[in-house]
Structures are given as C-alpha cells and as structure tokens.
C-alpha cells in the first residue's frame, strides 16, 4: 500500500466515523476476549466430557487405524469443501453495504480498501483454529485419552487448519466473483491479486445478502435467510416435467428439482448412505458407544433433508395465491414420496453391501424403515416450523431461538438415539422397533399439526 493510498483510506475512515474516536482495534479484540473465556469456561469441560463419553480407549484404538484416519481425512476434506462453498455465498471480504458503495467503488485499489476486512477474517480464522486445537488438545489431555504433550500439536494443527480455512473461504468468494468477470491481462489470476479480482457486483450482492440474512435471523425469519442464501437454479432447463396423476406429478416435480440441483442430490446421497450404514452397524453390538447412532442420525437427518427441497418450497409458498388443485396437507404428503423412497433405496443398497461384507444381517435394513418415518416427521416439522414465535425474543434470547430452530433435529436425535441404543442392548430388538414406530408416529403427528397451522394461517 502506497503512502498516498494509506493517507486517503485513513481520511475516508475518519470521515465515516464522524467525530467519534477510532474503536476498531477494541471492536476486533473484544470477540477474541469473549472466545477465550468461552473456550475456557465451556469448551474445555465440554470437550473432556465428550472424550470421556466416547470411551477413551476405544477412541485411541480407533483413531490410529486406517479406518480412523480415513474418517478423519474425509471429515477434514468435507469441512474444507463446505468452507469453499460458504465463500461463494458469503465470503471473508464483505464490508458493510455503504462502504462498498462509497469506498470500494472508488478508484482506490481494492487491495487497499478491502485489505482490513480480509485481515480481520484471516486473523479470526487462524485464531479460531488455534483455539479449537488448544481446546481439543486440553480436552483429550484432561480426559486422559492422550498425553498433555499433544496439546502443542493440536494447537499448531488447529492454526494451520485456520490458515487453510481462510484461504479456501477467499477462494470460494473469488470463484463466485469470476463467474461475472473473467480475469484479464491487467488483472492477472492468482492469489496475490485476489482482492483486486473481487468485482463490485458480487461484493454488493454479498453485502446486501448479509443485511437480509442478518435481519432475517434476528427476526427469526429463517425461511428468508435460507432463500437468500440459496443459489438460483439454472441446470437442466431443457428437461420437462411430465404430466401424471396429482400425487405422481408432485413426486416427479421433486425428482426434477433434484436433477436440477445435482450438488444437493449427491451430498444427500453421501450423508444418507453414511448415516444409514452407521445406524445399521450401531445395532450390531451392545458395546457401541451411544455417540455412534447419534452421529449417524445427524448424517441421516442432513442427507434426508437435502432431498426435501420440494417440501420446503411448498412450506415457503404458504400465504400466497394457491394454484395447485391438491389440498395443502396432501401436497405436503406428496412431497415426502421422493425423500422417503430415496432413503429406503439407499438403505437397501447399503444393507446389501454390509451384508456381503458380513458386517450386518439383511434384517438390519428394517430398522431404517422406522427411521424413515422418524425422518419424514422431523422434516415436516422443520419445513413447516414457520417464523419464530415472539416468545423466543424474550429474556432467554438466543438459547430459546436455537432450541426453537433445532426442535426437529432434537426430536430425531432423542428418539432415534435412544431407540437404536436400546435395540442394540436387548435380546429382542422388535420391542424397541415397535417403540420407534410409535414415537416416530408422534413426531409425524407433530409435523402434521404444524402443516395444519400453516394451512390455516395462509
């Protein structure tokens, strides 16, 4: 940055602040202070409890096997891919909208005007990585799973992960930007030129989206946040919806939607397959840690959810002029045909593979039929949850909001984990299966009650 640029930027910032003193350094350091206290007060105790509950010896044994390393590498790669995707929607360099309009749009170099934003995000990411690594290391050491010497390695590893996360985050934003303009001879491609390559349109879009999403989250209108974050569809426009009977055509609509969103379809398949396998394997031994079905259910919930876009769009559409000739509730049922069928099919294939490998009997597949009912119910709840009730804006604030939002996932985890763990520990799993069906039917009933509520409101 040249001295002239530095001077101009200082003047611009002073003008933007008005007569107030510069508190930017304090503003940046305050979250660091809060994060350190939170990590010490809650993070480390939670981490050591988690590692204790995982059964330290089992974890230590499994972590160093090829399967354990594959799981660790897969999770890391998955996380990094997710970070890059997030960058396309919301990158690390998103200044406030007025700053974009008045300063970034000026002739000053982007490297100068966007430099502080990038350094803040990069610093936050590296610091977050260091803190995560330190918390994990401390948790492992206190739980007696690993020696305290590991603390240094996990901290350094966390820091490196933070650097990688920041770079991939920026790469994601850069890729979203280069969809608008290709790099030219005066703006060569390359990491060194990354900030200069960010175009004003995508910066403005991300800044505006930041305002919309932020406002929607604060107002509890997570539907608006989701729709704003979603990328518009442009795939397979030549494919046409085929006519059919009313329920069939809704299912075909969902299949066409999945065809036009190959990313969601594939990640849904990956998560559903992993979750389905995890659940069937969890049933095979009474010694399986409870965390195994719990994590499997999280994956199953996410995978099944990726296939539920039609259901969510139907819920989003309540309150507008109705065009479809099916009753509201019947349409909601029809939107479950594709995700439930896809889950059952995935479970059949995964079960066949596990059976051939001698890891689970063929009958284990039946368990996932009960889970299908549970997932259908929880996704009805999730899609039709609507806008947060006024109560969550009370004194309890954010925890109430998180609890309200997470109710469908919590219902899945509580019912699914308890029943799966119970089934693995009793000689006659059919009793647990019957209870699973009964409780899953309760979750479906809860979901349908929310559908009915939205129907009446619209």
């Amino acid at each position: 940055m040249s001295r002239a640029d530095q001077q101009r930027l200082t003047q611009v910032r002073a003008a933007a602040r008005g007569n107030r003193t510069d508190t930017s350094r304090g503003d940046a350091l305050y979250p660091v202070y809060v994060a350190v206290i939170a990590a010490g007060a809650y993070g480390i105790p939670a981490a050591q409890q988690l590692f204790r509950s995982l059964d330290g010896r089992w974890l230590a044994d499994e972590a160093l096997t090829p399967a354990g390393l594959i799981v660790a590498v897969t999770l890391t790669v998955g996380l990094l891919a997710l970070i890059r995707f997030v960058g396309r929607v919301h990158g690390p360099v998103v200044p406030p909208l007025p700053y974009v309009e008045m300063v970034v749009a000026s002739p000053m170099p982007r490297k100068v005007t966007l430099g502080r934003q990038w350094r803040l995000s990069q610093g936050g990411s590296v610091f977050g990585g260091l803190l995560l690594g330190a918390t994990t290391g401390a948790g492992l050491a206190i739980a007696g799973v690993a020696s305290p010497a590991l603390l240094l390695s996990t901290t350094v590893g966390g820091g490196l992960l933070g650097v990688l996360v920041a770079e991939l985050w920026l790469l994601g934003q850069l890729q979203a930007s280069s969809q608008v303009f290709k790099p030219g001879p005066r703006l060569p491609r390359g990491r060194r030129n990354a900030l200069a390559l960010l175009d004003i349109t995508s910066l403005r879009r991300q800044a505006a989206s930041n305002v919309t999403i932020g406002g929607a989250v604060l107002a509890g209108d997570l539907r608006t946040a989701r729709l704003d974050a979603a990328r518009p569809t442009t795939h397979a426009r030549k494919a046409r919806l085929k006519t059919g009977r009313p329920l069939v055509v809704i299912a075909r609509r969902d299949l066409l939607g999945l065809r036009r969103a190959p990313g969601s379809t594939l990640y849904g398949l990956g998560f559903a397959a992993a979750g389905s396998a995890g659940l069937m394997l969890s049933l095979q031994s009474p010694h399986t840690p409870t965390v195994a079905p719990l994590l499997s259910l999280v994956l199953a919930y996410l995978g099944f959810g990726a296939w539920c876009e039609g259901l969510r769009l139907h819920a989003d559409n309540s309150g507008t002029s109705r065009m479809l000739g099916l009753p509201y509730r019947d349409t909601a049922w029809a939107h479950l045909i594709v995700p439930v069928s896809a889950w059952v099919l995935t479970s059949v294939v995964v079960n066949a593979v596990l059976s051939l490998a001698g890891l689970a009997p063929g009958v284990a597949f039946l368990w996932n039929l009960g889970i299908a009912v549970l997932l259908a119910g929880s996704h009805l709840m999730a899609s039709f949850r609507g806008i947060a009730p006024v109560g969550v804006f009370g004194p309890a604030g954010m925890p109430s909001m998180i609890f309200w939002y997470a109710r469908p996932l919590l219902a899945t985890l509580v019912v699914g984990t308890a029943m799966t763990a119970w089934a693995a520990r009793i000689p006659v799993p059919w009793v647990a299966f019957s209870w699973l069906l009964l409780l899953a039917a309760g979750v479906v009933g809860w979901g349908l009650a929310l559908v009915g509520k939205r129907d009446k409101r619209s």
Partner: protein, 226 residues
Amino acid sequence: MLGSRGDTAAAVSRTTGGLLRATGVGKKIDEAVLLLPTDVELAAAQCVVLRGPNGSGKTTLLRILAGTMPPSEGEVTLGGAPVDERQDSTRTAIAALIGAPATYRDLTLVDHLVLIDSTWGRVGERAEQRSDEILELLEIDHLAERFPHELSSGQQQLFHLAMVLVRPCSILILDEPEQRLDTDKRELLTEILLDRKDEGCALVVACHDPAMTEELADVIVDIQPA
C-alpha cells in the same frame, strides 16, 4: 375424485346463475376500517370491475370474495353456500390472482403450468400441450424454459397470469392484472379475458386502466375509501 375437478367447476357455473353474491361485506381490524360495506353480485359470463383509489379496499374485497379472508360484517355466498377457500368447492370454482403466487425456484415456466394443470386432474387432456398453448396465448412461449428468477417484472406478471389461466375455474378473480404490462400486452390480456367471458367464465377484476375497464366491464363497482 381428483380427476373430476374441472367438471365440477363447470357444474358450479351451470347450476348457479347468481354465482357469487356479496351482501354488505366490510372489513375492520380493531379500529382500522379496510373496507366499507359493499355489495357485489356476479353471474356467469359477467365481468364486474372494481375501481377506487389506492387503499380503498379493492384487494381486501377480492380476498373476501375469494374466500381467503373472512369479512367483519356481511356475507359472501357461492352458489348459495358461504365462500371459504378451505372448502374444495370454493377452490374448484374460483381461480384468484391476488398478489404474486407461489413459484418453485427449481421449475421452469412450462413445468409450473404442467404441474398446476396436472394437480387439477386433467392428465388425460394433454396438460403439456395445454401449457404450451397458454404460453403461446400470452406470447411468452419463447420463455418456456426459463426459471422464474430469470424474468423481467412484466414477464413475471404474464407468467403469473398464465398460472391462473391454465387451471379450470368458473370464476376468475384478478387484482390489477394490467400491472407492469405494456399497451400491447394490456390489449392482448383484454382479448383473452373477453374470450374467457364468452366461454361462460365470470370475472371480478380490480383495474386502474380505463380502456380495459371499458372493454371488460358489465358492472362497475366504485369502492369508496374509508
């Protein structure tokens, strides 16, 4: 059952000469008066145009007529029974475009029309061909494979009209359908609505366009602001 909905709409049209009748309907929310008591009577193959300044309650009246909002006073009947959008018979008879309708962001224009047409149980009647015809009728057939977010505001309005015109009905309720349309398209829309009227469909249209009003209206209801 679902396959007979189009026929039911025609049956409602045949059996109820005075199709839709609103008697002294008004709407108040607490102290705010949204609509002063108003009477509207609609027969088959008739068009009622609602006129009035912004905020006079035209959209409120249309919502009440469509059965999506209960009036605070007065009543609306459809073929003698109270109108209520939750009833199958109301939905079958009335097609309403009041505000932007719901669209699926992962479906193209033609897909939307096929979906709507199919859910009205008209599978055997070549929904795909009919969808293409509606797009052609509104002169947006070249946009058939676009997604809703790829349309201009005028094209969106034509697409929304296509969505409401593709489904069977005996009463068509439209809130300012001329919005964002150029002069040619307004004339085209007027012709389409006149054709619908000739086929026996009853229309209730809130409209600010004097030329369209003159062409379409059998009865004009001037809504007085509260």
